[in-house]
Amino acid sequence: MDLLEIRHLSLNFGGIVALKNVHMTVKKGQIHAIIGPNGAGKTSLFNCLSGVYIPTEGEILVEGKNITGLKPHKIARLGIARTFQNIELFANMNVIDNLLLGRHIHMNSGPFSGSFFYGKALREEVGNRLKVEEIIDFLEIEKVRKQLVGSLPYGIQKRVELGRALTMDPKILLLDEPAAGMNVEETEDIARFVLDINEELGMTIILVEHDMGVVMDIVDEITVLDFGSKIANGNPREIQANPKVIEAYLGQDE
C-alpha cells in the first residue's frame, strides 16, 4: 500500500481552479518532488494535505485512511508535518519553544498540571526538551537556541522551521520551497539535511522546489503540475526528457 494516495483532487476558489483532478501516490521512504511553474497549485496541494484548505472534490488517503476534510490539528496527529513557503514561525518565542511546540501532539499536560508544574508536567517538559535538543544538534543550530526567532537571519529561520516540523516526528514531511531565497552554500546544506532526514530519521518527504539542481539530485520521483493539473510523473531522468514538462517551463519563463 502506498503511504499517501491522492485521488481526483480538485480545489476551486470561486472561479479560480487551483487544482484539477489530481492523482498521485507517494511511496513510503521516498523523497518525492512536486514541481511546476508559479501558480501551478503546489502550495494549494500542500494546504489540502495539511487540512488548511478543504478540497472541492476528491480524497486524500494516508496509509489507506481517508483524511479528507479533517481539521489541521487532527491531521497533525496522524503524522503529517509541514513547513511554509513564507516562513510561519512564532516570532516572539525562542528557538527551543518553537521546537517544543512541535512536540505539542506528543505531550498531554493540561492547564492544571501546567499551572502547578508538578511531577508529570515537569517530566514531560524535560523529556521533550531532550528530543528538541537532538533536533537542534541535527540541524546545527545550537548557537541560536535561546534567541527569539524573529531576530534570526532568513536562512536560519528556514532551518528552525524545518526543525519545528521535525520535532513533530511525522511520517510524512511536506517541505514548501525549503531552499527558496538561499545562496548556493545554504542550498547545499538544505539538500544535505533533506537527504539525512530521509535516511537517518526515516521520514517520507514531499518537496516543492524551484531549484532544479536540488530536485534532480536528491529526489526519487517527481510529479509535475501545470495550471492545477498533473502533466507528468516519473523519475528525474524521465521528467527531464518529457516534452510536456519542457513546454510548460518554457512557456512560463522565456
Partner: protein, 350 residues
C-alpha cells in the same frame, strides 16, 4: 557581574527552574521581607491600596492570559470579575458559606461564564470580538441591576467578614497577608502555565494561528480554554474584592473597569506576567496621583475646586493607553527588561 549571565547550567531541570540564580533568590527574599513587615509600619491607606493592587493583579493576569498571550481581545473582563464578586457576596451573605468554598465557586462560575462567551465568539476576531465581549459586559451589568431579588440591585450587598479558620480578617491589615499569599500563588501558577504546553499553544495561536493548528493545536479547544482560565482569574479576584470592600454595588463593575484592566495590561506589557503586576499596581495608584495633582492645581486655579471626579481618571487611562501604545508597546515590563540587561552587562555596554 558579567559571569552571571553566562552561568553554565547542567541539566534541563536546572534550565527550567523559576528562580535561577542566587541573586534573584536574594532579591525576591528581600522583597518578601519588606512585604511582611509593611503592615507593621505602613499607613492603613497604603495597605488598602496594596490589597486592591493584589486583586487587580490577579484580574490583570487573567486578562493578559487571554488578550496578551492568546491574542483574543476582551472588553468585558469586568463582567467576569462582577460574576465572581456577586457569587461570593450572595452565597456568603445568604447561606454563610465559608471563603474556601466561596472563592473557588466564584472562579468556577466565572469560568463557566467564560465558556458561555468563548464558544460563540470562536470565529470572531479583533474589533468584532471586542464588541461581543463588551456587549456581554453590558448585559451582566444590566442583570446585576435588575435581578433585584438575588443581587439586591442598586441597593448593593453587604459581605460578611472573611473568616480564616476561626480568625476573622476584619481589617485591611489582616486581609493583607491573605491577599499577598493568594496573589503570589496566582503569579506562580500563571508563570508556570505560560511556560508549559498550554501556554506555548496560547502564544502560538496569537503569533500564527494557522501554523499553530498545523502543528496540532486545536484552535477551538485552546481559545475556549483561554477564555475559561482568564475568567477564572477574574472570578477569584472578584470574590476577593467582595471581601475587601465589605459592600458591593453595580457601579463598581461598569465598562470603565474593563477599560481599566485593558489599560493595566497595555501599560504593564501585553503577554508579560511581570507586566500584569506592574500595570495593575500602576493603574491602581494612578488616581491617587491625579487626586494630588487636582489638589495642587486647585491652589493655582481656584476655579477648578471640587471639579475632580472619575472623568479625570478615565481621561488619564485613555492617555496612558495611547502613550504606551505609541512609545512603549512592550509597556513597563519592556522598560524593566532594558534596565535589567543594562545592569547585567555592566560595565560592558552594547
Amino acid at each position: 557581574m558579567a559571569i552571571r549571565s553566562k552561568t553554565f547550567r547542567e541539566s534541563y531541570y536546572e534550565d527550567i527552574k523559576l528562580f535561577k540564580t542566587i541573586w534573584i533568590k536574594s532579591w525576591i527574599g528581600l522583597f518578601l521581607m519588606v512585604l511582611a513587615v509593611l503592615p507593621l509600619i505602613g499607613d492603613p491607606y497604603i495597605i488598602y491600596l496594596i490589597n486592591i493592587s493584589c486583586i487587580a493583579t490577579i484580574a490583570a493576569l487573567g486578562l493578559n492570559i487571554l488578550t496578551g498571550f492568546t491574542g483574543q481581545i476582551s472588553l468585558g473582563h469586568a463582567a467576569f470579575f462582577a460574576i465572581g464578586a456577586y457569587c461570593t457576596a450572595i452565597i456568603s451573605s445568604r447561606f454563610q458559606v465559608p471563603f474556601w468554598i466561596c472563592l473557588p465557586a466564584s472562579g468556577v462560575l466565572a469560568a463557566c461564564a467564560g465558556l458561555f462567551v468563548g464558544i460563540p465568539c470562536l470565529r470572531l476576531k479583533g474589533l468584532y470580538l471586542a464588541m461581543a465581549t463588551m456587549s456581554f459586559g453590558v448585559v451582566v451589568e444590566y442583570v446585576v441591576i435588575t435581578w433585584d431579588s438575588v443581587t439586591k440591585g442598586v441597593r448593593g450587598i453587604s459581605v460578611p467578614t472573611l473568616n480564616l479558620l476561626g480568625y476573622p480578617l476584619d481589617s485591611n491589615n489582616k486581609l493583607y497577608y491573605f491577599l499577598i499569599v493568594l496573589t503570589a500563588l496566582a503569579i506562580i501558577a500563571a508563570t508556570n502555565l505560560m511556560r508549559t504546553r498550554v501556554g506555548r499553544a496560547f502564544i502560538a495561536i496569537r503569533d500564527r494561528d494557522i501554523a499553530a493548528e498545523v502543528m496540532g493545536v486545536s484552535l477551538t479547544q485552546y481559545k475556549v480554554m483561554a477564555f475559561a482560565i482568564s475568567s477564572f482569574y477574574a472570578g477569584i479576584a472578584g470574590g476577593l474584592y467582595a471581601y475587601v470592600m465589605e459592600y458591593i454595588h453595580p457601579e463598581h463593575f461598569t465598562f470603565l473597569l474593563s477599560v481599566q484592566y485593558l489599560a493595566m495590561i497595555i501599560v504593564g506589557g501585553l503577554g508579560s506576567i511581570l507586566g500584569s503586576i506592574f500595570g495593575a499596581v500602576f493603574i491602581t495608584i494612578i488616581p491617587e496621583f491625579i487626586k494630588g495633582l487636582a489638589q495642587f492645581l486647585t491652589l493655582l486655579f481656584p476655579a477648578i475646586e471640587d471639579k475632580y471626579d472619575d472623568g479625570w481618571n478615565i481621561a488619564a487611562f485613555g492617555l496612558l493607553i495611547m502613550l504606551f501604545l505609541i512609545f512603549e508597546p512592550k509597556g513597563l515590563s519592556g522598560i524593566w527588561t532594558r534596565i535589567k540587561t543594562c545592569f547585567k552587562n555592566w560595565p560592558y555596554t552594547y
